[in-house]
Amino acid sequence: MNAIKEALKNVSDLWSLMVGLKVTGRYFREPQRTVRYPWKALSNTDTYKGHLELVGGMKDPFKPRCISCGMCALACPSNCLTVVKRKAPKPTPEEEKALAEAKERGEKPKDKTPKDPEKFIYDFSLCSLCGTCMENCPAGALQFSGNIYMAGYSRNDFLFDLVVKMRESEAASPAEPAAAPAATSEA
């Protein structure tokens, strides 16, 4: 009796291997699930949140909406942002005269310094993409870019001035934005 049980058990054990092979065979006939990456574009990159970038203003899309308040730099957990404010422009002699007169009248002079930052230094090598800066920006001037193809040769390649980056994108705007990897050609 025991010998029969043993034999039956061996058969069922062997059968479990057959069942596994059947699964393998079924999936062998199915099309490939992986993407031949460098030659084909990935389909899931649209929701990816890449490095930070400045948001343009309502009127001029290439003038940052940023008001240089520095809330982002304060909120950042890893201190990767530095906002450099613009200095007040030197007043012309006539303006100086008008300012002095206004002061005599007891009026407060109006600050005419442009609010957009002179520099917006962003160290991507320190950034952990948590989004705290965006959530604390009162002007809504920061956003994640969808750029997943960022690579560099040295650490300094990830240290950039976002204002300069914005100007570069303005210069490049008439042309098409950076071409995505061709979807059709397969090597």
């Binding site: 069942v19 899931n44 909120a75 957990p77 948590c130 989004g131 705290t132 959530e135």
Partner: protein, 388 residues
């Protein structure tokens, strides 16, 4: 100048030398790791071997220590959230939840109901992803290569779904104090609904391909028996404790968030061996799908972040709080102490993997070296979480 105690051998470091003092006659001291393919990271286990059999084993930790607890003392509470995504790469959202939950408890902050459901859905999805990662890697340890390909096929689908609200694929910092960072949009909900039947159709295939396979059964059945009292002595939680028949699931016992409204079971196994822990995790994946499906139906409309949620400059009130959630590996606990200052005074992170690993020294005694790898894998260790 270091003195070489055994001139004909290469002297080990402090741990090996200390370990070798108690070595039996004729035994061999062997270092498993820190760089070893079957230890999932930089875990080092010093073992004393008599032939193929393990006489003693001692895990050596700290190769991936990143001072997360200390970093909590130099950052404000809201600034510390990105760190929680990096403690455990398997289930980052569990750690997110434990920390924000502790801060909410300390500050008395109410979370909108929709945010609670979003938290449950995303962290359960993350749990399935974590179990799939474990499943693939464990079988890789045991010498089966193909299963990880099937596991990653499904896991990629989860990562694609979680990328929609969180924006990242592995180290999420998605939960906020008082809610979550963004709502699940229509596209995301549709994809989760499509994913549930897909994953349900895959689980029987996993059973056919691997779970019933005689080679796997011979490898894990009766290996690494952990008695319930050993689990209790070492503080093991999660699938390790449930695999030993202890019904401890914080989703059931602590009743946090909306889990009391949900209908699910916390599986336990009476087998107590590696097979029991394997079964528990496989059933848990199924149960997580049930939880997600119910949450999608019950989820109310509304805000996902409470009005007046704490800013980075928010100061936690003076006091202490402890909050624990059920992670993929067990109880994730965060104990906060605040003195009312800008930063937290102390943040203690209780990692489930640390306790689960500590019983390895006792359980592995007398087993074959190849079985010790099967036990180590069945504990589902994530080394960054153990070292913190």
């Amino acid at each position: 100048m270091l003195q070489n105690a055994y001139p004909d051998q290469i002297a080990g470091d402090f741990y090996t030398e200390n370990f070798a003092k108690k070595a039996a006659e004729g035994s061999l001291i062997l270092n498993l790791g820190p760089q070893h393919p079957s230890t999932h990271g930089v875990l080092r286990v010093v073992v004393e071997l008599d032939g193929e059999y393990i006489l003693r084993a001692e895990p050596v930790l700290g190769y991936l220590h990143r001072m997360h607890e200390k970093m909590a003392e130099v950052k404000t509470a809201a600034q510390f959230i990105p760190n929680m995504g990096r403690v455990d790469y398997g289930q980052a959202l569990g750690w997110n939840w434990a920390f924000v939950g502790a801060v909410e408890k300390l500050g008395g902050i109410e979370v909108p109901e929709r945010a609670e459901y979003v938290r449950v859905i995303t962290s359960e999805l993350n749990r399935i992803a974590s179990h799939l990662l474990w499943w693939g890697a464990y079988l890789l340890d045991l010498g089966a290569f193909t299963p990880i390909m099937y596991a990653f096929d499904d896991r990629e689908k989860i990562l694609d779904i979680l990328q929609i609200p969180t924006g990242s694929r592995l180290t999420y910092s998605y939960f906020r104090i008082g809610g979550v960072a963004s709502d699940l949009n229509e596209d995301c909900v549709r994809r989760i609904r499509e994913f549930i039947p897909w994953m349900r159709s895959r689980l029987p295939m996993y059973k056919d391909l691997v779970s019933d396979n005689i080679i796997l059964r011979k490898r894990i059945e009766g290996i690494g028996v952990i008695e319930p009292d050993v689990c209790q002595r070492y503080g093991a939680t999660g699938p390790v404790a449930r695999g030993s028949g202890i019904a401890c699931d914080l989703r059931k016992t602590e009743d946090y968030s909306v889990f009391r409204k949900l209908d699910f079971i916390a599986p336990t196994s009476e087998l107590k061996d590696a097979r029991g822990r394997y079964d528990v995790r496989m059933i848990e994946m199924e149960q997580s799908l049930n939880i997600i499906e119910q949450c999608l139906d019950m989820m109310p409309e509304g805000e996902v972040l409470v009005k007046g949620a704490p800013k980075p400059s928010w100061k936690a009130p003076k006091g202490e709080s402890y909050f624990a959630v059920e992670g993929a590996r067990g109880k994730i606990g965060v104990h906060l102490v605040s003195d009312g200052g800008k930063n937290l005074y102390r943040c203690k992170l209780r990692a489930p993997g640390y306790c689960n690993l500590s019983l390895f020294a006792e359980v592995s005694q007398g087993t074959i070296l190849a079985d010790a790898v099967a036990i180590l894998g069945s504990l589902d260790l994530i080394i960054p979480e153990i070292d913190r």
